[in-house]
Each structure stands twice: as C-alpha cells, then as structure tokens.
C-alpha cells in the first residue's frame, strides 16, 4: 500500500524567505510522487511530479522537490516566497504500475507574511 505523511499542517514564512514543505512517503513498489497546489476556493493544480527519472524535479512558479529514496522523502522547496504562494499544498503518491489511483496527504497550508 502507498501512503504519504505531510509533516506540517501549517507553515508560515515571510515574503522573500525560503519555503520548505515536508513530505515522507511509504510505498511497497517504485512510486510516482507529486505535489499539487490548491488556492482558496479553487481546484487542485499540478506543481511538479517525480516518475523515476531525475531525482531533482523542477516545477512551476519556482518550486522544486528532491526525491530521496534513502530518506523516503519528497520535500517541496522554493528559494523565495511570494504572497501569491499562499495556498494549500498536497503531497501525493502513486504506485508505478497497474491501475492504481492517487493517494493524497492531508495537506500543508502555507501562509506568507508581508
């Protein structure tokens, strides 16, 4: 079975400072990992995805994430937070074979302070 644990339910940063949203995963098989973002009252949008190619993945809006198999982690980072980054972020895992659906973490709410 697959699962993800988002280690922080809420992260608050000042504008212009780095962002770190932490995610650990558990998977019996080779996983695909994703980060989705949800702005208030909106649907989810894919930020980036890891599918067994390069371990450092770059996404939209300056975000990136590094797949670390030894640590079973897939943390999301951004060098400098912008006010528009304030949103809910979901770490998601899927097994890399078969007709398996996505499994979502509980989400991390990112607040950006001016």
């Amino acid at each position: 079975a697959q699962s993800v644990t988002q280690l922080d339910s809420h992260v608050s940063v000042s504008e212009g400072t780095p962002v770190l949203l932490r995610c650990n995963y558990s998977s019996s098989y080779s996983p695909s990992l994703f980060w989705y973002v949800q702005h208030p009252n909106k649907g989810l949008q894919l930020l980036l995805k890891y599918t067994s190619a390069a371990t450092l993945v770059k996404g939209i809006n300056g975000f990136e994430a590094e797949f670390k198999k030894s640590e079973t982690s897939f943390h999301l980072t951004k060098p400098s937070a912008h006010m528009s980054d304030a949103a809910e972020y979901f770490c998601v895992v899927r097994r890399n074979s078969g007709n398996t659906p996505l499994v979502f973490g509980k989400g991390t709410r990112l607040s950006v302070i001016a």
């Binding site: 909106k42 649907g43 989810l44 949008q45 995805k49 398996t100 509980k106």
Partner: protein
C-alpha cells in the same frame, strides 16, 4: 477548451434527499475520478472510471453511485443524503493512469442538514 467543469458550485440538501453532481471534461480523457475533501483530511477517492461503461470503487464509495455512459460525462449520485456527506467534491480527469497528471474541476460544496 473548458477543461473539467462541475455543477452546481454549491448545494444544500436535507437529510434523505438525493441529488446528482455533474462533471464533464472536453479533453477526451479516458480516466475520470470523484474525490471528496474534508477539512484537514486531504482528498479521498470515491469512484473512478477508466472509460465509458467502466467504473470502480475507490476508498470511500458507500452512499454514492456513478455511471459513465459517455467519455465526457461522469455524474456522481447521492442517494439518501446524510450529514456525513457534507464535504467539497472534486471531479478530475486524466488521459491515462500512466500520464500521471490529473486535471481537477473547481469543486462542488455540499452541505447536508
């Protein structure tokens, strides 16, 4: 290209009432999904479909039904609404499981009183 559309955006139901949440996509995607999002709980998969005429249960299917008569549409039916079904419902679609990216609709906020 509208992407994934959902109607209605908001709805209040009384206990025991029924309703259908509509979902449509114009991207010719084979796979479609229904999720519910409860506060602090992430998204839970209710049902999914791998193509017209084929549906399967997700993690939390009880109290819901789906059908997939066309590639474009994937309605979610609630029979005998209960307060536990108060949630935000998201429909999503993807070209295939292997494509990995799902495209989400804007959601339907449902309250059952």
């Amino acid at each position: 290209n509208a992407g994934v559309t959902q109607t209605p955006k908001f709805r209040i139901l009384k206990i025991g009432q029924s309703m259908t949440l509509q979902c449509a996509q114009d991207m010719n995607h084979n796979y479609m999904y229904w999720y519910r999002q409860d506060p602090g709980m992430g998204l839970k998969l209710i049902y999914y479909s791998v193509g017209a005429g084929i549906t399967d249960k997700g993690e939390v299917p009880n109290g819901y039904n789906v059908s997939r008569s066309t590639t474009e549409d994937f309605p979610l039916r609630l029979e005998l609404a209960a307060p536990s079904q108060t949630s935000v419902y998201f429909c999503a679609s993807s070209y295939s499981i292997a494509s990995n990216e799902q495209f989400f609709g804007p959601g339907t906020r449902l309250t059952v009183l």
